[in-house]
C-alpha cells in the first residue's frame, strides 16, 4: 500500500473502532494473497452492524462463525516488510 492509499484508508479507522455487529457468514482462508500469506489461516467475514454491513478479516488465530458477536479492533493487516509503512487497519474480534 503506498503512502497516499494508506493515508486515505486510515481516515476510516475512527468510524469503525469499537463498533459491534453480528457475523452473517464467515470463511477460514487457508490460501491467501501474498501479502496476507503469513496471517493464514484467518477468518474473513461479512458482518451486520445494524444500519449497514461490512466485510472484515478476523484477528489472527480466531475462528469466526455465523451468529458470533464481534467488535472492530485496530490491528496490523499483514506482516509488514522491513522498510515499508506498517499496514494498520481494522479487523474484528469475538466479544467474550
Amino acid at each position: 500500500m503506498n503512502p497516499a492509499q494508506y493515508w486515505r484508508s486510515s481516515k476510516t479507522w475512527q468510524k469503525w473502532l469499537g463498533k459491534t455487529g453480528t457475523v452473517l457468514s464467515s470463511s477460514v482462508v487457508h490460501v491467501a494473497s501474498a501479502e496476507f500469506a503469513a496471517c493464514a489461516p484467518y477468518s474473513y467475514a461479512l458482518i451486520d452492524f445494524g444500519n449497514e454491513k461490512h466485510e472484515f478479516m478476523g484477528v489472527d488465530q480466531e475462528i469466526l462463525a455465523a451468529g458470533d458477536q464481534v467488535q472492530c479492533v485496530f490491528r496490523k493487516m499483514e506482516t509488514p516488510q522491513l522498510e515499508a509503512l506498517i499496514p494498520y487497519g481494522m479487523k474484528v474480534q469475538k466479544i467474550s
Binding site: Q14, L82, Y88
Partner: protein
C-alpha cells in the same frame, strides 16, 4: 514538586493481549526444569502479543477504553505522549497511529518517548505539565510495550506485553495528582542499540545501583516534599521488573505488603516495561475506595525514576460501577500457549 492547582486523571484504560506463556513452559525450553526460576522471579506467566498486534495496536486499544469511559470531548485532547521501548517506527511516532484511529483533533502536541520502563510514567508527567501550563485542556499519556527476551536469557521469563492509557485534565477528576518528582542519572544497567533485536542487561548491577537507588531517591523526595510517611498512605505501586523487586523496595521504604498487594499484577502478566507501573496503578484504581492516597514510583533503566502522589475521589468509585474489562477481567480471559507458539508470534512482532 507539590501541585497546588487541581489536576488529575479523568479516565484510564488498559489492554492486555489474550495469550500467556507460563514460567514452566519457558523453564522446559531453557532446559532449566526444577530450578524454579519462575518462582524465584515471582512471575508465573507473562502476556504474549498476537502476530497482528504491536505497541501501536495496544496503545489504540488502551486509549479507546479510556475515551469510552470518559464523558468529556475528544476535541479537547491537545497533547498525546506515548512511552515505549518497542515503538513500531524509529521515525514516525506511535502517537500518530493512535491519533488517527481515535480521530483526534489536529490541534495536538505529540511525541514518542523512550526511557526504558519509565517512559509511560514520564508521558503521564509531561501530560500533567501540559495541562497545568494550560498548553492543553486534556492530555493523553500512554505506556505500551511488546517486550522481548532473548531465548535462553533470564529476561525471557518476565518480558511481557501490554498498555495503559491515562487522560489528564482539570475537570471531573477521578484521581487527583497531588505531587510528582523525577530523578535521572547515567547508570548503564540495561540498553539496546538500534538494529539489535534484544536488549543487553548488566545482571545484578540492575538492582542496587539501578532500581533500588533511583526508586528510593524519587520516593523519599516526594515523601519529604509532601511531609507524609508511608503509614499515612493507602497504597503503593513500584515498578515491576519481576515479582520480587517491588516487594523488597516496598519493605525497604517502610510500606506494608497489604499496601503493595493490589498492584502486583506482574505475577500474571510479567514485566510490561513502559506500561508496567501504569498497569499496576490501574489495577489499584480498579478497586480503591474514595479518598485513598496512592504513591507510585516507576523505574527506567539507564536510569531514572518518576514518583507520583495520587488521591482517589468519589467520582472514581461512582464511574467505575459501569466499567467492564478491568485489569483483572483481562487477566482472567487470557489463554495459555506453548513455548513454540510464543516464539513464533514474537518473531513476527519483533521490533528493530
Amino acid at each position: 514538586m507539590r501541585i497546588s492547582r487541581p489536576v488529575g486523571i479523568l479516565s484510564y484504560g488498559t489492554y492486555l493481549p489474550a495469550f500467556v506463556v507460563s514460567g514452566e513452559e519457558i523453564e522446559r525450553a531453557q532446559s532449566k526444569v526444577g530450578e524454579n526460576l519462575a518462582g524465584s522471579l515471582g512471575v508465573s506467566q507473562k502476556t504474549v502479543p498476537n502476530q497482528d498486534e504491536d505497541t501501536a495496536t495496544f496503545s489504540v486499544a488502551a486509549a479507546f477504553q479510556a475515551t469510552q469511559r470518559w464523558a468529556g470531548s475528544q476535541a479537547d485532547i491537545g497533547a498525546l505522549f506515548i512511552g515505549s521501548e518497542s515503538h513500531p517506527y524509529a521515525v514516525k511516532p506511535t502517537g500518530t497511529m493512535v491519533h488517527r484511529a481515535l480521530g483526534l483533533s489536529e490541534d495536538m502536541a505529540l511525541a514518542d518517548l523512550q526511557f526504558a520502563c519509565k517512559a509511560g510514567t514520564q508521558s503521564l508527567q509531561v501530560g500533567t505539565a501540559y495541562v497545568l501550563s494550560e498548553m492543553a485542556k486534556v492530555a493523553l499519556a500512554i505506556g505500551a510495550d511488546t517486550a522481548q527476551g532473548r531465548p535462553g536469557d533470564v529476561l525471557e521469563f518476565t518480558a511481557g506485553a501490554g498498555a495503559a492509557a491515562y487522560l489528564i485534565g482539570q475537570e471531573n477528576i477521578l484521581v487527583k495528582i497531588l505531587a510528582t518528582a523525577s530523578v535521572a542519572s547515567d547508570t548503564p544497567d540495561f540498553w539496546r542499540r538500534p538494529g539489535q533485536a534484544y536488549p543487553e542487561h548488566a545482571g545484578r548491577f540492575t538492582g542496587g545501583p539501578g532500581y533500588f537507588h533511583h526508586i528510593a531517591l524519587a520516593t523519599q523526595k516526594i515523601l519529604a516534599e509532601t511531609q507524609l510517611t508511608p503509614d499515612q498512605l493507602d497504597y503503593c505501586v513500584f515498578h515491576t521488573p519481576n515479582g520480587k523487586f517491588p516487594v523488597t523496595v516496598a519493605h525497604q521504604l517502610g510500606f506494608t505488603p497489604k499496601q503493595l498487594a493490589p498492584s502486583l499484577v506482574v505475577k500474571n502478566i510479567g514485566n510490561t516495561y513502559a506500561a508496567a507501573s501504569l498497569l499496576a496503578l490501574a489495577a489499584v484504581l480498579d478497586q480503591a475506595p474514595a479518598g485513598a492516597k496512592v504513591l507510585m514510583t516507576s523505574y527506567g533503566s539507564g536510569s531514572g525514576a518518576d514518583c507520583f502522589l495520587l488521591e482517589t475521589t468519589p467520582l472514581l468509585v461512582q464511574k467505575r460501577k459501569s466499567w467492564r474489562n478491568l485489569v483483572q477481567d483481562q487477566i482472567e480471559r487470557t489463554n495459555p500457549i506453548s513455548y513454540q507458539t510464543y516464539r513464533r508470534y514474537t518473531e513476527t512482532t519483533q521490533q528493530l
